[in-house]
Amino acid sequence: MSIDWSHFTPWFSLSGGIILGLASAMFILLNGRILGISGIVGGLLPPRLGDLGWRLAFLAGMACAPAVFFALMPAQWVQAPRIDAGYPGIVVAGLLVGLGTRYGSGCTSGHGVCGLARLSPRSLVATLSFMAAGFLTVLVLRHLL
């Protein structure tokens, strides 16, 4: 292993992480909810009356983030994120992420941030599992195939 110093962004990543932590803190302390994206989105299928408003309000806020980010920090805006996977890969990946996060009851936010922050052994097992699968997938795709 060697460190990729040219792409390493400790300060932006740490401050971004602190913001993610603050958002998760506000959500549980003000709204009483776990900030887990796959759960928030997955709960829209099927839409249940009386359970829609908070999900849509949250997602609407998220949808505004790119415009607000660009207005606040145009220098940090990544014009073209590097997406190496082709469309077939993107489709397969989306299906796996949709299925897996629902079966496993959470993703990087629900298990990886909120679950670990509340010291849940269940979320620790989930996080170690999806991390391990992520490492393995990249190893196979990048180095073994």
Partner: protein, 148 residues
């Protein structure tokens, strides 16, 4: 109304955090997952920062039954570690490693107008719909028993 505004602002803040941290750049995510190549440790800082802040919030939350806005405190109650949890997480991780998108960053990138993120999100919805249908199919015999 107060809670709708807070939900909106939390969603906005979360999206901003994802953009600032680098999570919305799939190549950066894959750079973190690529241990044997040239490794970019940035995402460990994202998780570290988020968990450090969240730790204190959840310590407070665990002691309360109502949120500061008076909503029920919906902390997960299941502590079950079963095959479903592990297999689900492994499948998610494989998809994450394949494209470099997890659900939050994909949604934010879709909102930023990235066509690949849109396709990813549509496929993710399809995957979630398959889960819902499979769950209902599995629950069907039980549903035929009249419930109280």
């Amino acid at each position: 109304m107060k809670s709708r505004i807070s939900e909106f602002l939390v969603g906005l803040l979360f999206g901003l955090g994802l953009l600032l941290s680098g999570m919305t750049d799939p190549a950066k995510v894959i750079g973190f997952l690529d241990l044997s190549g040239s490794w970019d440790p940035s995402l460990a800082f994202v998780m570290g920062g988020a968990i450090a802040v969240g730790f204190f919030a959840f310590a407070v939350a665990k002691k309360r039954t109502l949120s500061f806005f008076g909503a029920a405190m919906r902390l997960p109650t299941s502590g079950q570690i079963d095959r479903r949890l592990v297999v689900g997480a492994l499948v998610f991780g494989a998809g994450w490693g394949l494209a470099g998108f997890c659900p939050g960053p994909a949604l934010v990138s879709m909102a930023a107008g990235q066509p690949k993120a849109l396709v990813f999100v549509l496929a993710m919805f399809a995957g979630m719909a398959v889960f819902e249908l499979a769950e209902r199919w599995g629950r069907r015999p039980a549903a035929e028993v009249p419930s109280a």
